[in-house]
């Protein structure tokens, strides 16, 4: 009896809500005289390597005149608050902190970085709640198609934008390196069953075959797999001498150790998503020597900050001085997220007008510490493309292993630092 009344009551209030939805209390923008930027990244957990420079960057950005002095928007000056949230490398948690930023911190813009597991839930929440969002360090295919209800008929997003690159840039970066190592022309691919892995798996085979190579798929394994024997023996049987992948970092450590144990030593390993950062190299020790990967940022990039004009080299050195640790690529991307925020807010009339900020983000074009970023020329709406270079991990002077540029086909503005050496001679 009571249950029925309860259900009826619920039905009624739902009706009432639909009728007078406006009377529901909203969170809305602050309306206060300040701009709130939320920043979401995986500071702990398996993806922590991506975010290890984030605290430093947020502190650096806060200290720049552009942020400390307030952002001028529509002729008025607003103080800026940056609220930082950790996803613990968990997509559910990412979605939760994004909602907290919108509803409790009343963020005007959310910026987020590092892998689809972070950016996709955050962007989903922002798109649904109508809050502008910029993502970085995620292949655009994994960011764009994985969030579509029907990937075959993609719909552009209104509030969410990103900058990074896609599988075609990985191809443009890696294939020239393969060309310089005489090999059996068989390419071993280790791609898990996640947004990144599936994006790579659907795009790589064409690139590989167009370049005259043979594609050997190691299978769509689940993240967290602890045994790769079958994959390794498949690669050995197919005589693979080139190796590509996009796993989560701990899985690559396990796989690469097992590859060494079981005698799979490809002539050239060009990896993605792993060994991007010095912290990843510690777990593998000498096994990282001459592994090649992509680099979208580094002290060798001839770019300067749009906030205060400091160079990429200066930023990397400042990080090393402040933390005692080696520079990493996401320093530049995280920094650029705030450059983009600054660009968008200074260009609109009212910083709390979420539609206007989102529209501004979609037509932005500027040059900053990550080089030129142009949202008007992306492969799909809302995406700006960076041009990475090929690098190898080589024994360094200040640190055990350092990234050295070995191929600049995609971005000739970056000077080459050393010759390409086979991973396993």
């Amino acid at each position: 009896m009571r249950r029925r009344t309860l259900l009826k009551g619920l039905g009624l209030s739902a009706l009432a809500a639909t009728g007078c939805g406006t009377s529901i209390r909203g969170s809305g923008p602050t309306g206060e005289d300040r701009i709130v930027i939320g920043f979401v990244s995986p500071r702990t957990g398996p993806l922590a390597g991506f975010a290890s420079g984030d605290s430093f960057i947020v502190d650096t950005v806060r200290r720049t005149q552009a942020f400390a002095g307030g952002i001028t928007s529509g002729g008025r000056k607003y103080p800026v608050e940056i609220v930082v949230k950790d996803t613990q490398s968990d997509p559910n948690r990412a979605s939760q902190v994004a909602r907290e930023l919108i509803l409790q911190d009343r963020a005007d813009l959310i910026v987020t970085s590092s892998t689809p597991e972070t950016t996709n839930p955050v962007a989903t929440v922002c798109e649904t709640q109508g809050v502008p969002c910029v993502s970085a360090v995620v292949p655009w295919q994994a960011w764009y198609f994985a969030r579509q209800a029907d990937p075959a008929k993609p719909q552009p997003f209104t509030y969410t934008t990103m900058f990074f690159f896609g599988v075609e840039q990985f191809g443009g970066c890696f294939v020239p390196m393969w060309e310089r190592v005489p090999s059996s022309k068989a390419v071993a691919g280790m791609f898990p069953n996640d947004a990144d892995g599936n994006a790579f798996r659907s795009a790589w085979p064409d690139i590989i075959e167009d370049a005259g190579y043979r594609w050997v798929d190691g299978g769509s394994y689940t993240n967290g797999t602890t045994d790769y024997s079958s994959m390794i023996s498949a690669f050995r049987e197919a005589d693979c001498e080139i190796f590509i992948n996009a796993p989560i970092p701990p899985d690559f450590n396990t796989m690469w150790k097992q590859a060494a144990q079981q005698g799979f030593r490809p002539k050239l390993a060009t990896v993605a998503k792993v060994l991007l950062f010095p912290a990843d190299t510690e777990a593998l020790g000498d096994l990282v020597n001459n592994i090649a990967t992509d680099s979208w940022w580094g002290p060798y990039m001839p770019y300067t900050s749009s906030l205060d004009g400091s160079t990429a080299k200066a930023l990397a050195e400042a990080y090393q001085a402040a933390s005692g640790k080696q520079w990493l690529q996401t320093l530049g991307s995280t920094y650029s997220l705030f450059e983009v925020a600054h660009q968008a807010f200074t260009a609109v009339d009212a910083p709390h007008d979420r539609k206007a900020v989102a529209a501004q983000l979609r037509r932005l074009s500027y040059t900053g510490i990550s080089g030129p970023l142009d949202w008007t020329k992306g492969p799909v709406p809302g995406v700006a493309i960076q041009q990475p270079v090929g690098v190898q991990w080589k024994k360094g002077k200040d640190f055990p292993y350092e990234m050295v540029v070995v191929d600049n086909t995609l971005n000739p503005a970056v000077p080459v630092g050393a010759d390409l050496t086979p991973t396993n001679p």
Partner: protein, 306 residues
């Protein structure tokens, strides 16, 4: 008592008009905890089955909702369907798992959740997860309010349903099974059937919570929704509150919620505390806080020991 309960419900139902989205967010979490704990308690407290695999049905509910929403069903209308789906899935599964009891049942249900998780990762979203389709038609504020009311309805409905079950013939038989299965069987209680009903209902309840959480988070990932951590929470809420009472899980959910809000800023220490409290309660106060301190607001037993 009844009037008081109705008053509290009305008060809670008006939150979207009075206190706004910030409070709604926290209360949705609290309500889903209450519902989860209540259904877990039906299994453990009344049927004597400790499942560590209820996250399997959270996941079935969430992914069921995804499939239904893809097919064009309104996400909110699809929540009860997703719950029913979880209950139906549980039926054949119960044939296998109910052969076991105690620790073996616990681990077997856990393995089952892993099977479901791995099966779901074979879908297009893979390990990264999927966004909820068909939700963009709702205004953000209205959507949040609807999620809130669904959560409130689910929590209140779960407590009410378990109470009605527990105080009827079924509850009497279930408590006999939980106290001593052999003796219950000897006195004519159909043990297997009692347990099967509890298992399927608890699965449907978990399915509803899973679907609701999906409309709340808008994003679901296999590794998160199928995480054993959910069973950990269910267990501690029920244990601290009081196993086998109607009020216990609600009290336990409140305690957990307050602890989490107060202590989560200090990292996972509150979980350490929770684990320790769970162990201590099991060993030294098996009837839980409510069982020892509170008076039953929802009396279920005619022969309740005093």
């Amino acid at each position: 008592m009844r009037y008081f309960a109705v008053f509290v419900l009305v008060l809670l139902a008006s939150v979207p008009y009075t206190l706004g989205p910030g409070v709604e967010q926290s209360l949705v979490t609290l309500f889903s905890l209450v519902a989860m704990a209540t259904w877990w308690n039906l299994l453990a407290g009344f049927a004597g089955l400790t499942s560590f695999g209820q996250q399997a049905y959270l996941g079935v509910g969430a992914y069921g909702l995804y499939v239904l929403a893809l097919a064009g069903v309104d996400p909110f209308a699809a929540i009860p369907l997703a719950a029913a789906l979880a209950g139906v899935v549980a039926l054949p599964v119960s044939v296998a798992v109910l052969r076991l009891s105690g620790g073996q049942f616990a681990v077997a249900t856990w393995v089952l959740a892993e099977i479901f998780r791995l099966a779901v990762t074979l879908s297009p979203g893979g390990d990264t997860g999927v966004s909820l389709p068909g939700i963009s038609g709702y205004m953000p504020l209205l959507r949040q309010a609807l999620v809130y009311w669904c959560a409130l309805g689910l929590a209140a409905g779960s407590v009410l349903a378990v109470w009605l079950l527990a105080r009827g013939r079924y509850g009497l038989a279930a408590r006999a099974v939980s106290a001593d299965p052999d003796a219950a069987a000897a006195s004519g209680v159909r043990v297997a059937r009692i347990r099967r009903v509890a298992y399927c209902l608890a699965a449907a309840g978990a399915g509803a919570v899973g679907a609701l959480l999906f409309t709340h988070t808008l994003y679901v990932q296999p590794g998160s929704i199928f995480n054993v951590q959910y069973s950990v929470l269910m267990m501690f809420m029920v244990l601290t509150g009081g196993l086998g009472t109607v009020e216990g899980p609600v009290a336990g959910a409140l305690i957990f919620f307050v602890l989490q809000q107060a202590l989560s800023a200090h990292g996972p220490w509150y979980l350490v505390l929770l684990g320790a409290v769970g162990v201590a309660v099991t060993l030294f106060a098996p009837r839980g806080l409510w069982g020892h301190l509170g008076r039953p607001l929802f009396p279920i037993a005619h022969l309740r020991e005093t």
